[in-house]
């Protein structure tokens, strides 16, 4: 399943659809980093609003994506985690430590604006 990746200036926005397979996640990990390189993006927003479950593999992959993208000098923000999903995740100990999170796309963009303003 293809995950749509949109470009908004220096930010890439990847919108997860529900129920991504492990293969999809692996494919996405490589794909996103390649896009960051190609467009010299400064940040990536991963929108998981449509995900109603988050297992340990998905959670780990998200973290790895963030770390890989940081090696390219770019920031990752995960947005749209649903309350039920957040609750389930912390009970399993999947806290996405070290990865920025925001309520939704709007908040994610606001957060990045602030960050870019202060670093410029």
């Amino acid at each position: 399943m293809e995950v749509p990746i949109l470009k908004q200036g220096a930010v890439l926005i990847a919108t997860f659809q529900a129920a991504l397979s492990d293969a999809d996640l692996n494919h996405l990990r490589m794909g996103l980093v390649q896009q960051v390189v190609k467009f010299r993006s400064r940040a990536v927003i991963v929108d998981v609003t449509a995900m109603d479950v988050m297992d340990s593999f998905a959670s780990r992959t998200l973290r790895e994506i963030a770390l890989m993208i940081r090696l390219r000098g770019a920031e990752t923000v995960i947005v749209g985690i649903q309350p039920e999903v957040a609750f389930a995740m912390v009970q399993l100990g999947l806290t996405l430590e070290g990865v920025a999170t925001a309520l939704d796309l709007e908040e994610g963009l606001a957060y990045l604006n602030e960050k870019f303003k202060t670093t410029n």
């Binding site: 995960i78 947005v79 985690i81 649903q82 309350p83 039920e84 957040a86 609750f87 995740m89 912390v90 009970q91 806290t95 996405l96 999170t101 925001a102 309520l103 939704d104 908040e107 994610g108 957060y111």
Partner: protein, 324 residues
Amino acid sequence: MVFPMKFPANSGGGLTQNRAARAEEKIFMAKRDGTPTSPEPKRTEEPSELLRELVAHLRQNRTQLREEWVVRITETRLLTAMTKEEIFAEATSVYDSYVEALETEAFEALQAYARNLSERIIPRGVETHEVVGIVLLLRDVLARSLFAKYQNDFKKLNRILDAYEPAANRIANTVAVGFVQERERVIRQQQEAIRELSTPVLQVRERLLILPIIGVIDPQRARQLTEQLLRGIRTNRAKVVVIDITGVAAMDVTVANHLVQTVEASRLLGATVIVTGLSPEIAQTLVTIGVDLGKMNTVGDLQGGIEQAERLLGYKVESLAEPQ
């Protein structure tokens, strides 16, 4: 209270066996003491026939038996919370349902009726012992009328009671269980309401929520708290939450861990949590269980917590009055 009674799973078969066993016993005993065996027993009625017969009798004498029952209820001082008219109205519907259950043996329908009845009378303050009491009184009143009707035919009375007793006992059991189930449902509902009322999520500024917690937190309440908070964060688009636990005396390890999880889950929704009002005991608990305090943002009291939250959100509070 559930009646510890056993009912034959197949009451028809059980009755046939009992009757056959007694007939055999009679013939055996007769042979032993030399008296001629009794003539071939008359064709005995099927249990379903007996049931029909007794149900017909109960229907025919409905008015009188119901009246007798209501008198007994008043004498025993049951249902004191209800007026005479109400008792009469309920007695009528209970009597009819009782007789119908005897006839159709449809106990699910009876249980549904019992729950429905309970829903009506529990708010009136009727207690379990009263409901069980009146059903048993009805059982007695009907049984007595059967004694009276068949007093001249003891054998037939026995057969009638064989048909009546298991069904009547099952009815008493069903009604009692239905009543208790309804009470338990009401209690659960009330507990849920209390829990919800006691954990309000309040917005005090744009993007700032306060969750004041008072009283005892058990794991169930803690879980409910978290769910309400996460939903509140999403609905109000909160960026900062102040959880105040001044009103919480003590917290066990499970709940303390739950608090940490709440903080982490809130972060996943993009909100920062500030915990305020930790008592010395709770502070001790958290340190003892080795909670990673780096993950928890804590401030002494609620005032301090709100002030820090405002700073995080970029608010500045200034006094308008001239300093004296």
